[in-house]
Amino acid sequence: MMPRPAAIGVNGLLFAASAIALFPLLWMVSTSLMSPGESSAYPPLLVPQQPTLDNYRELFARAGMGRYLANSLLLAVAVTALSMFFNVMAGYAFAKLRFAGRERIFRLMLGALVIPGQVAMVPLFLLLKHLGLVNSYGGIIVPALASIFGIFLVRQYALSIPDDLLEAARIDGASEWRIFGLVVVPLLRPIIVTLAVFTLLGTWNDFMWPLIVLTDQDLYTLPVALASLSREHVQDNELMMAGAVLTIVPVLVVFLVLQRYYIQGLTMGSVKA
């Protein structure tokens, strides 16, 4: 065996690829700490000469970043918390409760997964307008209350709950709701965390739908605000990078902390689909 050159090659390539993956993010953080105009230098500066938090102050003081941050946080948390109820209950029922048409409805839902969400956007906009939900938090929250993907994910996991366990609880006289709350939910915890992380990050990062449904600037989420700011402030590199940091860092932290759950859901969701 002569693993030396191969080991150096593999690890060298991994290091180079990781550097390319991370460089834009590191560059963003570094540039966000530069003073205005500093990043427009040749050759490009990699670190600020005098790190400053002025860009962040400016974002909060004048660009209303606090408001957008609060909107994003509120929507992501609300959608995640509420949709969890709908999806977990339905996913469990599709796996373990018997009702007429269960298989047929499930197959139809799986089929509907191929329809891209954008096909529904125009009529959904009109529907929400009719319900008075356009230009309100409700316009984001209500359509996101249940998702086929979420139900599917929970169902796949819930299939592994032993029927005997549920039967035993039923014989003991527990109602279906008690069984769900006391037996099923604790067993489903890993997939609940997985789905919660997916939903949280998905809602936080979503762009096209908030762009359409939130027209009032006070309701903008971070991505919508950032896109609009970046169209106005094409030259303010450093300011934009501070905005990007505020948008990206929260999701990156959530991901790093709950990485295991995220990756698990990812492999589970697609290998089965």
Binding site: V10, L14, Y42, N87, I115, V122, L201, L252, L266, A273
Partner: protein, 293 residues
């Protein structure tokens, strides 16, 4: 039956939401694409007329629609194979028995996937800047003259593809890595004993074993890449010379800038049909190759 009634309370709320806010709009979209729904109908529904397939016919005569379709196909045809190749390469490296610090490298390579697309598009817009951008600086170091990435119609789409590959490859990498790890090690051992080179082992062991997952990942990636929107919205606003207008970007402008909601619905449906047709084609290919289980 009692248990059946309780079950409906479990699934009912979710199904109701999906029916009202997804199924109904999809069907309504199909109906709307047959009308001349515009800003006047938005104000007063009495201005609405049914026009049959006229929206579709007119779209097929609009140069910009064809341009958007062409751009989107360019993005899919070049972007997806490139994306898959990078994902597979990264997964193979991570799966290598020589790889060290695997958890660190995996997380680092995956990080771009969880980032907010708008924010990283803003970053890349600056990295790709002609005069002060880092990409041109790095290319300059190896003797390549500055490229006007986002201002030159020849380079704008390649720039967006490079950005998309950077942003997305980690996703498929994780799935392919799981696939690689499930390949029994003795297969490689047997091939090694038979004297197969590393390349031969990849060709005759890895690829066939990975084919089912690779195909599924391919289908999902194609469907995802057809939905190109945020990248051109933030990085190029469809320009220069409409070289990065995608089908969805076209739909967005048609529907929510000009309020031609009937036309926008028709665009959405054509995109759906296109994705559907391509998916079916890939599935058939997959069955013909005997990959389907």
């Amino acid at each position: 039956m009692k248990s059946s009634r309780v079950a409906w309370w479990f699934v009912g709320p979710a199904l109701l939401v999906i029916a009202v806010f997804f199924v109904l709009p999809v069907l309504a979209g199909l109906a709307m694409s047959l009308t001349d729904f515009d800003i006047y109908a938005l104000a007063d529904l009495r201005n609405l007329r049914i026009v049959g397939l006229r929206n579709y016919a007119e779209l097929l005569q609009r140069p910009l629609f064809w341009k958007a379709l062409g751009n989107t196909l360019y993005f899919v045809v070049v972007g997806v194979p490139l994306s898959l190749a990078v994902s597979l390469g990264a997964a193979l490296l991570l799966d290598s028995r020589f790889a060290r610090f695997q958890p660190f490298f995996r997380t680092a390579l995956f990080a771009p996937v969880v980032t907010t697309i708008v924010a990283v598009a803003v970053i890349w817009r600056h990295l790709l800047g002609t005069r002060y951008g880092f990409v041109n600086y790095a290319l300059g170091a190896i003797g390549i003259a500055p490229i006007d990435w986002l201002g030159d119609p020849r380079f704008a789409m390649p720039a967006i593809i490079i950005f998309a590959v950077w942003k997305n490859f980690g996703y498929n990498m994780i799935i392919l890595l799981a696939g690689l790890q499930s390949i029994p090690r003795d297969l490689y051992e047997a091939a090694r004993i038979d004297g197969a080179s590393a390349l031969a082992r990849f060709r005759y062991v890895t690829l066939p074993m990975l084919a089912p997952i690779l195909t599924i990942v391919g289908i999902l990636t194609v469907a995802g890449y057809f939905q190109l929107f945020a990248e051109p919205y933030v990085m190029t606003q469809g320009g220069p010379l409409q070289s990065t207008v995608s089908v969805l970007y076209f739909m967005y402008e048609e529907g929510f800038k000009w309020w031609n909601l009937g036309t926008a619905s028709a665009v959405a449906f054509m995109l759906f049909l296109l994705i559907f047709a391509v998916t079916m084609l890939q599935l058939r290919q997959m069955r013909r190759a005997g990959i389907a289980r």
